[in-house]
């Protein structure tokens, strides 16, 4: 049954509604700390989106890689960071530069580690500061008014850990929380909270528990030391429950578990805690309140580090505080966010051969694992049924909008021993196009409560940009060929498209200044990591790099 939107809105408590939606500003990476990527603005809607035109364009001048960050907008000012950490404050109505800052080129870290990948996924803005992570693993705070550096603190030593922090930091009250890359190296992941005012350490929580801590017994021998689990994206926050939610990365080594899992151990749940899990931490202390492991003994790199959407929904006649979380495998979990209790799950990709299913209480069955001495084909690939680009959720439709991919991989494991900070995936995993298909991705609308796919729009190549949903019942995203387009949120009908000139691997946001609604999108396709893997799959195309922000609005006359 399709619930009429108005009735649906009436059922939602006001608090969740307010916590999830953005209006004039786009204050956080995921829109709000509920991570919906939903703007309530409706000036641009299904009937007039066809008139959308560029209002201004901003070129960062940083063309070493791509523009993948999510801009922040506060009080008519946009804060944007480029791949090699040039930060700009722009007049959000005109695109003129208010101030700019350039982070010095860092020293080389460990060859082949994350320090080689030039990227940044966004700044956080709070407490009069613009805060971002760096390739050499500092967290830096600039003065929001002037762009001058205020504080800078080392999160870890990249020359030792092979790790850094390039996700957008999460603001939680008086703190800023960052995870880190590094799960592909021999590394033990953690979340770290610093005070926004001073840059001083507030707390650190290790994903992999140390000796004497609960959960350490789920690791074989000393394997916890380099057990991975790095939470490399941005979490969410529920101020009412005072809980921070984060997805954690896969166990390390990735494709070979003999050194970390005791032979014969049950893999039903809680193997190598707290990797490939959703965790809820006390926002003040960083203490673990609950966990739900999605991929026990992850041997496929299906890490769970993706965004966590918080929402309140009717389930079996009861209003529940839930979270919706998709991991790389495309398996999407609905959990009670107060307790971590499993409610339901659904599987997004059409191609999935690593398990045969999920039980009614959330356990994986029919595991199909990599095997030493063999090359086996698995779907999805390590690029994910979705990459790190985010989904969006509209409270008007109640749907989750997913940029899903249909890619596979050949895993050949090896048994390389851990050396701290050095590459530690223990396997080869080239991405493969599945046979007998002409399209390799699709934008889907899912009802997270029923687990039903409402509509699906196929796309020839792969979609690697975040989704945006708006109060005008529109869904926006871009493709690697450079098209930025709007779909009808209820039907998936394509209503508008614009060729921006370079591929999309970033995000779009919506905001307003003086009553005029804008849609901003970052363009420029990633040339490394997942981007390069995809480029290699479609040699006939050139998915162009670049670093340009394109901002759209309705012509003054037509709105």
């Amino acid at each position: 049954m399709r619930i009429p939107a108005l009735l649906f809105l009436a059922l939602l408590p006001l608090s969740a509604q307010d916590a999830g939606v953005t209006r004039a500003d786009w204050p956080h990476y995921g829109g709000t700390q509920f991570s919906w990527r939903y703007s309530a603005l409706d000036q641009i809607n299904t009937s007039n989106v066809k008139n959308l035109l560029p209002a201004w364009i901003f070129q960062t001048g940083d063309y070493t890689e791509y523009l993948g960050s999510t801009p922040i907008v506060a009080d008519g000012v946009m804060y944007l960071i480029s791949a090699s950490a040039r930060v700009f404050a722009l007049d959000a109505a005109k695109g003129t530069v208010i101030w700019q800052y350039r982070y010095p080129t860092p020293r080389a870290g460990i060859a082949g580690s994350h320090s080689d990948f030039i990227q940044n996924r966004g700044v956080a803005v709070s407490d009069g500061k613009v805060i971002f992570g760096t390739r050499d693993n500092f967290l830096v705070a600039l003065d929001q008014k002037t762009g001058k550096e205020l504080w800078k603190v080392s999160v870890d030593d990249p020359k030792q850990c092979g790790c850094n922090n390039l996700a957008a930091p999460l603001i939680v009250k008086d703190k800023v929380i960052v995870g880190g890359n590094g799960g592909d190296q021999a590394h033990r992941g953690y979340l770290t909270a610093f005070y926004t005012k001073t840059g001083r350490l507030a707390w650190r929580w290790y994903v992999v528990p140390g000796p004497g801590e609960k959960g350490n017994e789920t690791w074989k021998g000393d394997s916890w030391r380099y057990g991975g689990g790095a939470p490399w994206l941005t979490g969410s926050f529920d101020p009412d429950l005072n809980l921070v939610y984060w997805g954690t990365g896969n166990a390390a080594a990735d494709f070979y578990d003999t050194d970390r899992v005791t032979a014969g151990a049950s893999k039903t749940r809680d193997v190598n805690l707290y990797t490939a899990s959703v965790v809820a931490l006390d926002a003040d202390t960083g203490k673990l309140r609950w966990h739900f492991q999605e991929v026990p003994d992850d041997q496929w790199d299906y890490d769970s580090s993706y965004e966590v959407l918080l929402m309140d929904r009717q389930i079996k006649g009861q209003m529940r505080k839930i979270l919706v979380h998709m991991n790389k495998s495309g398996l999407t979990f609905v959990l009670d966010r107060a307790t971590g209790e499993f409610i339901s799950s659904f599987n997004v990709p059409e191609l999935s051969n690593w398990i045969s299913g999920v039980t009614e209480d959330g356990k994986l069955v029919g595991r199909n694992e990599p095997e030493m001495g063999k090359t086996k084909n698995f779907c999805p690939s390590t690029a994910g049924a979705k990459s790190w680009n985010s989904t969006a959720y509209s409270p008007r439709t109640g749907f989750l909008y997913v940029p899903a991919m249909e890619l596979c991989m050949d895993i050949t494991p090896n048994d390389t021993k851990a050396t701290e900070g050095r590459f530690y995936m223990n396997g080869d995993f080239p991405t493969r196009l599945p046979p007998n298909r002409s399209t390799y991705s699709h934008v889907d609308a899912w009802d997270p409560i029923t687990g039903k796919k409402i509509w699906s729009v196929p796309y020839k190549y792969v979609l690697l940009a975040s989704m945006l949903a708006t109060g005008g019942d529109l869904v926006f995203t871009g493709d690697p060929e450079g098209n930025f387009f709007a779909l009808d949120a209820r039907t998936g009908d394509k209503l508008w498209s614009f060729q921006t000139g370079a591929g999309h691997r970033g995000a779009s946001i919506s905001y307003s200044v003086n009553g005029r609604q804008y849609i901003a999108v970052t363009t420029g396709f990633q040339q490394t990591v997942v981007g390069s893997a995809v480029i290699g799959l479609f040699p006939e195309e050139s998915f162009r790099a670049g670093s340009t922000l394109v901002v759209f609005a309705l012509p003054e006359a037509s709105r």
Binding site: T64, D116, K152, C161, D428, P430
Partner: protein
């Protein structure tokens, strides 16, 4: 001194003298630095980055690219991060993937320095303790850099304390007191200019590099901060091992 790479080189020198050994070493370097999943893949054939095997590259081209990198791409310059021996080995290995049957394997460059690999007993243990990641911010390398490992907050260690008692009693005249917004904090002043005062706030680990305007801060000589208060994660035997390590690598 780039201690780290010299030390690596020293190990490599001992190990690699003939072609099969060099190629084996090259493959090992390749698998840790180049084959990494998102880059060239095993044997240079399977990754996201361009294929390296069977491309007809000659050794000089490979050597140049590996050392210099390719600007504006993810291909880094390994000249600064790999030892001479590892560079030679990995270049020879990639050459072998391109059908070069007799690649040059002579290592040129600086002779090996003092070997960390040769550190034994307490000194070797001390090296690991110095940057022990299990101690999080409670490790020496939170503020000290040696051989490319650690964050250089403090000036390079020039003199090694005689024993653990001296280490604990270490005087730190550089640490002063900064008062900012009514709060006094131990600080290591980095620079004082007309427009900015830059200092490390040592209130808690890790130190925070802060930039303030001269009008908002007051600085005073001396501090109640003590080095002994930040080495509490180590016991007596561990501190002693760390001193052995420092004696082995710090040249006055």
């Amino acid at each position: 001194m780039k201690l780290g790479s010299l030390l690596l080189a020293a190990t490599a020198f001992a190990a690699a003298q003939n072609l099969p050994d060099v190629l084996k070493q090259g493959e090992a370097v390749f698998s840790k630095s180049c084959a990494t999943g998102y880059c060239h893949g095993a044997r240079g054939t399977n990754g996201g980055a361009p294929r390296l095997a069977g491309r007809g590259f000659d050794q000089a081209f490979i050597a140049n690219t590996v050392q210099q990198g390719i600007p504006s791409t993810a291909m880094p310059a390994f000249g600064a991060t790999l030892s001479r021996a590892d560079l030679t080995a990995v270049v020879a290995y990639v050459a072998s993937l391109n059908g070069v049957t007799n690649p040059v394997i002579t290592v040129s460059g600086a002779p090996p320095g003092p070997s960390i690999a040769r550190l034994t007993g307490d000194a070797a243990r001390g090296r690991n303790l110095f940057s022990d990641s299990v101690r999080s911010f409670g490790r020496c390398s939170t503020c000290h850099e040696i051989g490319g490992i650690g964050i250089p907050v403090a000036t390079p260690i020039g003199k090694v304390p005689a024993d653990t008692a001296a280490l604990k009693a270490l005087s730190t005249p550089q640490v002063s007191t900064v008062t900012l917004g009514g709060e006094s904090m131990p600080a290591l002043i980095v620079s004082k200019k007309a427009n900015t005062v830059v200092f490390y706030d040592l209130t808690s680990a890790p130190p925070v590099l802060r930039t303030e305007s001269p009008s908002s801060v007051q600085t005073g000589e001396g501090s109640t901060w003590r080095h002994s208060s930040v080495i509490g994660s180590y016991n007596e035997a561990e501190l002693s091992a760390i001193l052995s390590y420092l004696r082995a690598v710090v040249k006055p």
